[in-house]
């Protein structure tokens, strides 16, 4: 018991937070991530690794259901923090402190564990979380039963390659059906919802995919919640008649690019560069002057541009009219530098905010999960942007 208590305390000193951005949560997410970086906690990369679930903004009904699934699957000791859209740095700090105290609180964790042990665990039939899709996961266990392949069923045709006679369902799950794949074979199809709770993932995005192995055979895109006005805020204010300088808008825009860069670099498996991008983003949003930002940004930009491995991996990924992932990365880097260089431009803002990409599901079809993640991160798409 004493040992457990001691271990809980040690563990609570090094929590692994996982930050989820729900509707209207971008501002709170950025502040929360900055605070977590300041405390030098290691963020959990998948949600399953976390013991601290940080929810930013106000999740809608479906989003909340997804969060609940993740939370139910999170092994204890665990704590949940809700950061409302209007959270301030001090309130975030207090919320995190409370959560850490909760993590170290043996009695509270004990009660939590007892409450969970009391109710029988059952996998939700309709889940929308990242690694918590046992329904999807188990359907790789086969297509139909033997009989549907036998002679007696051969006459009724192949109906486009599908055999969906649900002959039995172990664990309450239907068996997977088959469908043609990109290599001319007919393999099991697995229906998996990718998102909305994933690290480095656009807020509220759900990709309903049909997987064969790790290749996406078909995809549909859904957004939980509408567009976010945070990144377009300066333009919205200017449109509403408030005086806004170009510097302010440029600062917001540069932070947006750095946020996207952080995601792309992180999905590329380059956590070091991603951390640099996010540190720069946090300093931009904390109103650091241009002199303090220009030199570190140049150094970051040089490092990213010089990585031949990154170019090799991003080349020909997600090609659309304006180029592939490499050209989008270069574009972000160039525009961020321009925005940082113009941080002292006090002329009033006009014009419209830069248009963010949208995600066409066809882009993902035929790629493996890794490519699909890179495509999405290199677009960093948003649903239709909400203008005030």
């Amino acid at each position: 018991m004493v040992v457990t208590e001691w271990l809980l305390k040690r563990a609570a000193d090094h929590p692994r937070p996982f930050v989820v951005s729900a509707e209207h949560g971008t501002r709170a997410r950025l502040l929360g991530e900055a605070e977590i970086a300041r405390r030098r906690w290691r963020p959990a990369e998948p949600a399953s690794e976390a013991d601290l679930l940080v929810i930013c903004g106000t999740p809608g009904e479906e989003f909340e259901a997804a969060i609940r699934t993740v939370w139910d699957d999170l092994p204890g000791p665990r704590a949940r923090v809700d950061l409302p859209s209007d959270a301030t740095p001090p309130s975030i700090g207090q919320a995190l402190n409370r959560a850490v105290a909760h993590l170290a609180d043996k009695d509270a964790q004990w009660r939590d564990a007892a409450a969970r042990a009391g109710k029988p665990w059952s996998p939700d039939a309709d889940r929308n979380s990242d690694s918590h899709t046992p329904d999807g996961g188990s359907s790789h266990h086969g297509h139909d039963s033997h009989a549907s392949h036998g002679q007696e069923h051969d006459d009724d045709g192949h109906e486009g390659g599908h055999h969906e006679h649900h002959m039995g369902n172990p664990g309450g799950l239907p068996m997977a059906g088959r469908g043609p794949d990109r290599d001319g074979l007919s393999l099991d199809r697995l229906h998996v919802s990718i998102g909305p709770i994933l690290s480095d993932w656009p807020r509220g995005l759900v990709v309903e995919s049909v997987l064969q192995g790790d290749v996406i055979q078909d995809a549909a895109v859904r957004w939980l919640g509408s567009g976010e006005s945070f990144w377009a805020e300066p333009w919205n204010k200017a449109a509403a008649g408030h005086p806004v300088t170009r510097a302010e808008a440029g600062r917001r825009q540069a932070a947006a690019y750095l946020d996207s860069l952080g995601r792309l670099l992180s999905v590329s498996g380059w956590s070091g560069a991603a951390r640099r991008a996010r540190a720069l983003r946090d300093r931009l949003l904390a109103d650091a002057p241009r002199a303090e930002l220009a030199a570190p940004y140049r150094s970051f930009e040089r490092q990213v541009r010089r990585s031949r491995t990154l170019r090799w991996m991003l080349r020909d990924v997600g090609s659309i009219e304006d180029g592939d992932a490499v050209s989008r990365l270069d574009g972000w880097l160039t525009r961020t530098r321009a925005a940082i260089d113009a941080l002292e431009d006090e002329t009033p803002l006009d014009g419209a905010p830069p248009v963010r990409h949208t995600l066409h599901p066809g882009l993902l079809v035929g790629g493996e999960l890794a490519t699909a993640r890179l495509i999405i991160a290199s677009l960093d798409p948003e649903p239709a942007v909400a203008h005030a």
Binding site: P180, R182, D218, H360, G366
Partner: protein, 208 residues
């Protein structure tokens, strides 16, 4: 030594039987692997260190590849729906039982010749010398067989050739492999994903 051998022998045969008993194909694959590994370990007991370790090395790789194909092609690879997929079970039991009895009888009735010589200090060196010397021909035949297998398996298993990858005049700089926006290798009639406007054009259009 003898104890170790009998343990390994029992493990090996038991794992071999388990292969055809369990429902889960994954368990069957790894039971087979256990059987093979036990044989590899038994080889370590009779001074065949190199071959024993080689069996371990190769069989792990082989079984993993087998596991991938198993998931691809088997229905019900996890055995969640127990089913018997056998034909002529009785006949198979009788035949294999008879073969075992015959072999056992042969083993114990044959008067085996006396052992000639002692194992050399380094059997691995002996093996190396043999395949590079007196048994060179065997190894060369095997080499050709491996090459032939590699070529024929690729021909059998893939339906895309270099003309699909590099264009009809083989002039494309980077190969066109199946992937997002690059037109899957299926005839156009078989897939309706409803995405016309994304990425590089269909290979067929480009090469035409």
């Amino acid at each position: 030594m003898a104890v170790a051998f009998w343990i390994l022998a029992v493990v090996s045969v038991a794992a071999g039987i388990v292969v055809f008993v369990v429902d889960s194909m994954a368990r069957a694959t790894f039971a087979l692997l256990a059987s093979l590994l036990a044989v590899g370990a038994a080889f370590l007991l009779i001074d065949l260190e190199y071959l024993g370790v080689l069996i371990i090395l190769m069989m792990v790789m082989e079984m993993l590849i087998m596991a991938v194909f198993m998931i691809m092609y088997m229905m019900n690879p996890a055995g969640l729906m127990p089913m018997k997929m056998v034909h002529n079970n009785r006949g198979a039991v009788i035949i294999s039982g008879a073969v075992f009895v015959l072999l056992t009888a042969g083993i114990f009735l044959t008067s085996w010749p006396q052992r000639r010589g002692e194992p050399p200090a380094d059997p691995t060196r002996e093996l190396g010398m043999a395949i590079m010397g007196s048994k060179m021909l065997v190894m060369m035949v095997i080499g050709v067989a491996i090459l032939a297998t590699m070529i024929s398996t690729v021909v059998l298993a893939t339906h895309r050739g270099r003309y699909d990858r590099y264009g009809e005049d083989l002039k494309r700089r980077r190969p066109l492999d199946p992937g997002p926006g690059q037109g899957p290798g299926l005839p156009a009639a078989e897939h309706h994903h409803g995405h016309g406007s994304c990425g590089s054009p269909d290979p067929r259009e480009e090469s035409g």
